[in-house]
């Protein structure tokens, strides 16, 4: 496979995954805030700020009153904002275009439909009452696309590179969403009922990652900070956990680099090392300083990405 | 008699922004032919990037340098050549018996077909409409004599001046300005020769300037024309000379574009500056 095309496939995977997470974050936060148990979590300003924080565009001016329609448009369909879902989809499709000969017609068609759906979505409609419609369709279409990847591509290096992108992006988005929600829980804490560890935000967090039902099956209790973080970070069986992503990344890289002996400067070696460190972590260690942990894992993920670029995408 | 030359070609390239990926192709290697022999060469650059030899589209040897990883904002190249030039009696030439026969040869279709490459005008060697009558051949004297006249005429019509033209200047402009450097002299000479059915090619090479000839301490240019019954003959219109032991040929083509000594494909933003210098030193004559 061409190095340039591999790079494009990798980013195609990342952008598709990213658009899904952004869409779901918008949806869940907006709608769960409507009947949140405390005033702050219900506040529209609070939710909009959280959304901007999640797409890495935090509003620094604490006094500024954000305009709901503007913020939603900016994150959803604004062609001039680089982090908008619209632009994520555009880039994903452009990357798919350049690898058209390698991906299946079925997958291409799904991505193409996704693209046309997004660019043709009426922006005014979206701002006024299309949020749920648009974001649920985006998550559904990315689900279809993932299904086409799984079902219509040969599970060889092309597939592995795409999945590598998806898994790295998923881990990154999980950690970003955790970060946002920790922020929110921190801001929302106050009186006894609204303690950090028992914040309503943990439920929202789980819902943002479509993991609420899974979590309830294991813990059978209202989520707390510890149980939520443990589940989303360390539980290998949760498909939306960091551990699970790292395991998958490990499998993906084995397909791309089939040498038995992993050289110390290879991606495979680095991924293995990061995963091993993770497997023997306990949630108490993480909980001691969650922000240090978040920073570390983001750095780790980005170092994998950089390594891949050096090793495979150098053209 | 033989004379030996040492030629040094240097170029300095500076780039505003750092660059990694680049290609350079140097068309600067003296060819080996009946009158000269390339004895040895060295080629190096400041970044120690390996070079390759290749043959370009017209069959001449080039150096090619392909950089992929090293990041730099300047690079120097230096080439050294040792060439032995055979001193030949200008041309083994006696007045042709039948001048018209030579002119008829030029009109012959098969001749035109065989030499079509050097009879075809290019963008740089197309005479403007008013240029056709600048110099007329006298069919009563031999082809070679006409060319000698043309050489002289070109030399007087244009005066040598740097920086009034560049490598893309067309004849229309040159004829109007009446000034230029060796490329311009050569383009004009070739165009008029071709207009008179004489195959003419642009030659790029080195000139031994110690003899006081005009050039600009870069590569020199002159022309070769095909004269029936004699073959290719070199004329240097810049110096009004027949080409002899002081000219060391690198390559020929239809015009400058085919002979450009340095071609670079550089993936960088911003400007770049390129400086060339050429030195030709004549060694002690050998027996």
């Amino acid at each position: 496979m061409l190095a340039r095309v591999a790079n494009n496939l990798y980013w195609m995977g990342r952008y598709i995954e990213r658009s899904e997470h952004v869409a779901r974050y918008l949806n869940v936060n907006y709608f769960s805030s409507l009947d949140a148990p405390n005033e702050l979590s219900q506040s529209r300003q609070f939710v909009l700020r959280s959304m901007l924080f999640m797409v890495d565009k935090p509003e620094k001016d604490e006094k500024k009153i954000l305009n709901e329609e503007e913020v939603l448009y900016q994150i959803g369909l604004d062609p001039s904002s680089p982090f908008s879902i619209l632009n994520n989809v555009k880039i994903a499709r452009e990357n798919a275009n350049s690898a058209r000969d390698l991906i299946s017609q079925e997958l291409y068609e799904a991505i193409n439909k996704f693209y046309h759906y997004t660019i043709n979505y009426d922006a005014d409609e979206f701002k006024k009452n299309g949020l749920d419609d648009f974001t649920s369709n985006v998550t559904e279409m990315t689900g279809v696309i993932r299904g086409k990847m799984r079902g219509t591509l040969l599970h060889d290096s092309v597939y592995a590179i795409i999945m590598m992108g998806i898994n790295i992006e998923r881990a990154t988005q999980i950690i970003r969403i955790i970060n946002s929600k920790c922020q929110d829980a921190l801001s929302a804490q106050g009186s006894y009922q609204h303690k950090f560890s028992k914040s309503f935000e943990w439920t929202t967090l789980l819902k943002c990652l479509e993991s609420y039902d899974m979590m309830r099956r294991i813990y059978k209790k209202t989520p707390t900070s510890i149980s939520t973080l443990e589940f989303l970070i360390l539980n290998p069986n949760c498909p939306r956990s960091i551990m699970n992503c790292l395991n998958q990344i490990c499998n993906n890289v084995k397909v791309i680099d089939d040498q038995k002996e992993k050289k110390p400067d290879s991606t495979a070696f680095l991924v293995g090392k990061i995963r091993s460190e993770f497997r023997f972590k306990r949630i108490e260690e993480i909980d001691e300083n969650i922000y240090v942990f978040i920073k570390k894992i983001l750095e780790d993920l980005s170092s994998i990405s950089i390594k891949m670029e050096e090793e495979f995408f150098n053209y | 008699m033989l004379s030996e030359y040492t030629i040094t070609y240097k170029t300095k390239n500076k780039y505003k922004k750092n660059t990694k990926k680049a290609y350079w192709q140097f068309l600067i290697i003296p060819e080996t032919n009946d009158s000269q022999e390339l004895v040895s060469f060295e080629f190096s650059n400041s970044e120690n990037i390996l070079y390759q030899n290749s043959i370009n589209g017209y069959g001449f040897l080039v150096f090619r340098v392909h950089s992929t990883n090293e990041s730099f904002n300047k690079i120097y190249f230096e080439a050294n050549f040792k060439v032995i030039k055979k001193y030949t009696n200008l041309i083994d030439y006696t007045e042709p018996l039948d001048i018209t026969k030579d002119y008829n040869k030029l009109e012959d279709v098969n001749f035109k077909i065989d030499y079509n490459t050097f009879l075809t005008n290019t963008q740089l060697t197309t005479l403007p409409l008013n240029g056709k009558s600048l110099f007329n051949f006298n069919k009563k004297i031999a082809v070679l004599d006409n060319l000698t006249e043309l050489n002289k005429w070109t030399n007087t019509y244009l005066s040598f001046k740097k920086k009034v033209t560049n490598t893309k200047t067309t004849l229309k402009h040159i004829i109007k300005k009446k000034q230029g450097v060796c490329q311009d002299f050569t383009h004009l000479f070739c165009a008029i020769a071709r207009a008179n059915q004489i195959p003419a090619r642009y030659v790029s090479g080195y000139l031994n300037q110690t003899s006081g000839y005009l050039g600009d301490s870069q590569m020199h240019a002159w022309a070769e024309v095909f004269v029936p019954n004699i073959g290719w003959v070199g004329f240097d219109p810049t110096n009004n000379l027949l080409v002899t032991k002081n000219h060391i040929k690198v390559c020929h083509g239809k015009d400058y574009k085919d002979c450009s000594p340095l071609k670079g494909i550089i993936h960088t933003k911003g400007d770049n500056i390129t400086k060339h210098s050429v030195q030709v030193i004549k060694q002690q004559p050998q027996q």
Binding site: M1, L2, V5, N97, H116 | R64, H66, I113
Partner: protein
């Protein structure tokens, strides 16, 4: 039955002046079309409209589109497709196929000759200006032997049927002829929409193009290569024919590369893969001559590969089509095609040539200037239907302008009588009915070493504007599925 009486075709008007493909010489509807009419007649007009928009959506979703640039934004549009197929009977196809092969072979021999001994000029069959004043003659190709001796691996020959019922060639395209992917997509779309119809006909498949093409391409591999590594090179995703490039690479099972994916080391070509460099032996190029190598041709080109031409000259890589083939699809060369075929193959031309006037010849120029209103004036070195003037469609002012232009640059133009392209029933959305529209046929011929292949079908292009004779997609043309019936 001369009139058509069913739901779909009730308003079909036959213009007696035109040669309509569906009627035989007695003015009766041909049997093959009769059956087709009755099969199509089973659909109501509403139903047909539905099928038509479904087929369009399918093209759109598959991304078989090209970019249209207008003032506001770039838009994607599909290449218009007509659901009513053109049928070519076995006898007619025989002529087309043999004629296409004959022409392609003659062009290949012509190219070898003009880049080597030039005997055809020495023997006085064609004038020397064909090479000396052609912008597409590449001097770098002189005395270079392309691997396998093949120049025009793929030839796209545009054929029409005139009023007289005979086939004429309008143009030979041997640089980078495009359109073959549409042949296959049209078939797929028609099969999806009207699958029932196919049961009633024995039609040749068109999906075998890619494998045949690759097989023949590989016969012209460089010397010393055992199993060649082939690639398709494209200018990139913004090129209007990008879909076709990716389609061909995919169906041939080879990599689709851009110039930046390749590099040349010691006169061998390599591509950059995730596992390091991999040698490339055959390049099916969809990048124009002057852009393939910035060190040898246009130095501004970012689409090419520095050093590629030197690798080619050394015989280390095959380029298909060879650089410099453009000299032979010049419209001035076209006019000598009958002589060229006779000269190299000692055969009579199978397909007719349209009578052509060379404006460079004083006598022809005189005729052209007097009869401009009844001629088609074409620039010799343009393709894609650009720069063509059709005499009887010009206003007085335009006529004057054209004459002036021809007079000033006679070498640049040729003129031909206005050929009346045959017509075919075509569904027209604006009127919601079938109408006669002009069509042509582009055949795709592949030459290999001692073997050749013609795609049994080809691209029927249709001029969708009423009365329009120019079928190129850039000029508002569409296309139809083309059925070649088995004997």
């Amino acid at each position: 039955m001369t009139n058509i009486s069913n739901n779909l075709f009730s308003s079909y008007v036959k213009n007696e002046e035109l040669y309509d493909e569906i009627y035989d010489s007695n003015g009766d509807i041909k049997d093959v079309y009769k059956k087709l009419f009755s099969l199509y007649g089973e659909h109501s007009l509403t139903n047909f409209v539905k099928l038509n928009s479904k087929a369009k959506a399918s093209f759109f979703n598959q991304g078989i589109t090209f970019q249209v640039y207008n003032k506001k934004a770039t838009q994607e549009e599909i290449f218009p497709f007509d659901l009513f197929p053109r049928i070519i009977n076995p006898e007619e196809w025989d002529i087309i196929e043999k004629g296409s092969i004959q022409r392609s072979k003659a062009l290949n021999l012509f190219l070898w000759d003009v880049y080597h001994e030039k005997n055809i000029i020495k023997d006085g069959i064609v004038p020397i200006d064909l090479i000396t004043s052609s912008a597409n003659y590449l001097h770098q190709m002189e005395n270079l032997d392309p691997p396998g001796g093949i120049y025009n691996h793929v030839s796209g020959i545009d054929i029409i049927k005139h009023k007289d019922g005979k086939f004429y060639v309008l143009e030979d395209n041997i640089r980078c002829p495009s359109g073959v992917s549409y042949v296959i997509c049209n078939r797929t779309a028609l099969k999806r929409a009207l699958f029932g119809v196919f049961n009633h006909y024995q039609t040749y498949s068109v999906t075998n193009y890619a494998e045949n093409f690759l097989e023949l391409l590989e016969t012209a591999k460089p010397n010393g290569v055992d199993i060649p590594n082939s690639v398709v090179i494209t200018p990139g995703i913004y090129n209007s024919a990008y879909y076709e490039h990716s389609y061909l690479a995919k169906t041939m099972g080879i990599e689709l590369v851009e110039g930046r994916d390749l590099f040349v080391e010691n006169d061998f070509v390599y591509m950059k893969t995730i596992k390091g460099p991999l040698k490339v032996d055959i390049i099916y190029r969809r990048v124009d001559d002057l852009y393939i190598d910035p060190l040898e041709f246009n130095p501004e080109s970012v689409l090419g590969v520095p050093g590629l031409f030197a690798a080619y000259k050394k015989g280390n890589v095959t380029l298909a089509n060879a650089p410099g083939t453009g000299v032979a699809d010049d419209k001035a060369v076209y006019t000598y095609m009958p002589e060229i075929i006779k000269y190299y193959l000692k055969e009579e031309p199978i397909l007719n040539n349209v009578k052509t006037y060379h404006c460079s010849r004083p006598k022809d120029l005189e005729y052209v200037l007097e009869h401009t209103h009844e001629l088609v004036i074409k620039p010799v070195d343009e393709s894609g239907g650009y720069g063509i003037s059709i005499g009887n469609k010009l206003s007085k002012k335009e006529l004057k302008k054209v004459k002036k232009e021809v007079k000033e640059n006679p070498r640049k133009y040729v003129a031909q009588p206005i050929m009346s392209l045959s017509v075919h029933p075509t569904y027209i959305e604006e009127t919601n009915s079938f109408e006669q529209r002009h069509i042509d046929l582009r055949t795709f011929t592949v030459l290999g070493k001692e073997k050749e292949f013609v795609l049994k079908g080809g691209l029927t292009r249709v001029a969708l504007r009423k009365g329009n004779l120019i079928v190129n997609s850039s000029q508002g043309g569409g296309s139809k599925d083309t059925w070649v019936l088995k004997k």
